[in-house]
């Protein structure tokens, strides 16, 4: 059956309460003429006045003033969990596309070799690089450091990071990922979700303990059961629904929306009206948590 | 032969240049080199000689390409290409005024520009054009109007070592006797072109002649 709807009808009814937020600025707006403040991201100094350079909300931390844009390319920080794709195998390093401003770098010395061995990298390893990770492979990694030009250096020196095998990836705006203590969540519904700070979300079936500890170099290519697939698909659609409605993504919000969606067929979740319904049911539950 | 006049070193960006006027015909040539050459055109044991010919009106077509080829071959014979392996010598020729005996003027101005640029040469070349008119008379350095009515147009290029022929370009029909007559006449007058080169360089390089 084909589902047809008019384009205009899909337009969300404008919420009536679009009252303007008080500390909202647009590029060129003067934030303050007080010279006692420090210039943060999204601002610039001219004529001793602090101006905004992006459109967004002013944030103040002590003396530091930043403007956070609604939507922007991923701006990496040390300790972030990211999901990226290998795009180039080079001399002792891989280039990884993390949807950042510049390609990220994964040094051969910052990965755990198969089997979790800790030893010096030999020439052999250098030649074997393509056997570990080749172009097109997806990895999860942590940001180790940021170079002066803004490029990220990654590492996978923990067994939870490494190559990703079977699952699904979703790209959302990086600003929708809520910063939490952990970005790896094993959900009770039987799936694992990685909420990468760079806006990439990875959903896969939960593995048993032993295979998870290999660092992912041996890909488990066993067929995933239909039940697991359905759970993954449902989660994916829920994440899309949340991002479509500009809701922050974290374990609770994903889980709640998942629970709310159980009433519907997996494929129906993406229908705009159902999406809205799920979100409208999720929102009060999150608010009642008192976040 | 018509009056010859040259101006050297008028342009600032190239390594050597000459503006040569033979009669009303006028050509400017610039030379770059020896300089870098694009990898795909690089020759391992000698310099790559490239000629760009720019006509005054319109876009370059087949005729211009052929013209470039003739001049390129002549210049390559003259230049000591083995002295500059893996480098390029670029010659750019700009039409200023075509009033007959045009090819000769282009080649002569290229030779002067190469001299001005100080590119190592095996010898110098001088080009002379002559025309056989309908009465069978030979006219040296014809103008464009004479060229239109003529029977055959011949351009000879000689070297100054042993006055052997470097290039011949002819158009129209003529007998072999006429060809020989033309050759000897042009050879004779080519000496004057060489004389002109010599005088021009003497003037350029001398100190005492410094007027101004």
């Amino acid at each position: 059956m084909v589902d047809i709807r008019v384009v205009g009808a899909r337009d969300r009814q404008k919420q009536e309460f679009t009252e303007e937020i008080s500390n909202l600025v647009c590029p060129g707006d003067v934030i303050t003429t007080d010279t006692g403040f420090m210039r943060g991201h999204g601002t610039y100094m001219e004529d001793e006045k602090l101006h905004a350079s992006v459109a967004g909300v002013v944030e103040r931390v002590n003396k530091l003033i930043c403007v956070k844009p609604l939507k922007t390319r991923y701006n990496g920080e040390v300790g972030d969990v990211v999901i990226g794709r290998i795009i180039e195998v080079g001399q002792k390093r891989w280039k990884v596309d993390t949807r950042s401003k510049l390609d990220s770098i994964l040094m051969l010395s910052s990965v755990n070799l198969p089997g979790g061995e800790l030893r010096r990298r030999s020439e052999e390893d250098e030649k074997m690089m393509r056997n570990y990770l080749k172009e097109g492979d997806l990895i999860s990694a942590e940001v180790q450091s940021v170079f002066s030009d803004g490029a990220l250096s990654l590492h996978t020196r923990s067994l939870k990071y490494g190559k990703l095998a079977q699952g699904t990836i979703i790209q959302v705006s990086p600003s929708l990922i809520k910063r939490r203590k952990t970005h790896f969540h094993t959900l009770p519904c039987g799936a694992t979700i990685i909420l990468g700070n760079n806006g990439s979300v990875w959903i896969s079936a939960t593995m048993n303990e032993e295979t998870e500890q290999t660092g992912g170099y041996e890909q488990d290519l066993e067929p995933v059961s239909k039940g697991d697939r359905e759970v993954i698909a449902r989660l994916r659609n829920c994440v899309i629904a949340l991002s479509e409605h500009q809701m922050m993504l974290y374990d609770t919000s994903v889980l709640y929306s998942y629970e709310e969606s159980l009433r519907f067929n997996v494929k129906d979740i993406l229908k705009p009206e159902i999406m809205t319904e799920i979100i409208e049911n999720t929102q009060p539950r999150l608010e009642s948590l008192g976040t | 032969m018509c009056e010859m006049m040259c101006e050297l070193g008028q342009l600032t960006r190239c390594d050597g240049d000459a503006c040569l006027m033979q009669g009303e015909t006028c050509v400017t040539t610039a030379v770059y080199g020896p300089t870098e050459v694009r990898i795909n055109k690089e020759i391992l044991d000698k310099a790559t000689v490239e000629v760009v010919y720019k006509s005054k009106v319109g876009l370059p077509g087949c005729a211009e390409k052929m013209f470039e080829r003739i001049i390129r071959n002549t210049c390559e014979t003259m230049i000591l290409t083995t002295a500059h392996p893996r480098s390029g010598i670029n010659i750019i020729i700009q039409e200023m005024q075509n009033s007959g005996s045009y090819l000769a003027c282009c080649i002569n101005s290229a030779c002067l520009a190469l001299l001005d640029a100080g590119v190592s040469l095996k010898f110098l070349v001088a080009a002379v054009t002559c025309l056989i008119d309908n009465e069978g008379e030979i006219i040296l350095d014809p103008n464009s109007k004479q060229e239109k009515d003529g029977k055959a147009l011949l351009t000879f290029v000689f070297d100054n070592k042993d006055f052997s022929i470097v290039t011949v370009n002819t158009k129209g029909s003529y007998s072999s006797q006429q060809f020989k007559d033309c050759t000897s006449l042009c050879k004779k007058s080519s000496k004057q072109v060489f004389e002109f080169y010599k005088k021009s360089m003497e003037k350029l390089l001398s100190k005492d002649n410094f007027v101004k």
């Binding site: - | 101006e7 960006r13 760009v52 720019k54 750019i92």
Partner: protein, 304 residues
Amino acid sequence: MRETPLSNCEREFIRKALGERKRLDGRQAYDYRTLKIAFGYDRGCCRVDLGQTRVLAQVSCEITSPKQQRPSDGVLFVNVELSPMASPVFEVGRMSDQGVEINRILERCLKESRCVDTESLCIIAGEKVWQIRVDVHVMNHDGNLIDCSSIAAITALAHFRRPDVTVDGTDVIVHTIEEKDPLPLSVHHMPICVSFSFYEQGKFLLVDPSDKEEKVMDGKMVIGMNKHREICSLQVTGQMLLLKDQVLRCSNIAVVKVTEITEWIQKALENDRQARSNGERFGFREAVVMDTVTTNQMNPEKLK
């Protein structure tokens, strides 16, 4: 070949000198370099030297069919060639951004200001019109190509004569020079481009920047104007921020410069006209200064 960048100390030196109101060649900020105009043997051919910058322009014409939207208007076509002769950076064939920029400025300056009466170029409406083609060849690049090219283009247009035609029913007879005197184009006014380069965010401005000054500048403003003080084209290029007053100041300077240059062009045209009508010799050779070491002349003896 890639452009050799200006060395940092040269850059610094030029900037610093500009701060002290000094230019490398000793000119004042609003001075032009010496302008020389020489005409070729053919009609519509001229060579313009602006200091060391040299440009050759040739106007030609042919009969074509008019554009559909304007069946009774002739066509004016401008083509700028950045020859590798002018600078090793210029390549043959491919049109660089700089080439497009100069070409468009000239096109806008000459075509859109309607300095040439295109209606008079119509032979048979909707069928046959004259296409006037201006080819501008840059021969030496020492900065300010735009001004030099615009002077060359408009001078060549004013110098050009097209053959006379007679229309006989649907036949068009083109007369040779011998049969009928060729006709000049009706040039209503002469738009001339004046370039200003800006430094230190518009604090300093220079007229007629040389190549090195162009390499250091923040941005450039080109004003095309005729002697009736009508602005025919105006354009700001480069990454700089200007205020309205700066634009007006430039347009005031342009008025003076355009008047001077127009007079100079008229004088050159008049000299050439006299030489031609008095039967004196004309062509590029007349522009050669003989008493320098770089020139030579020889009258070969008659052979045979």
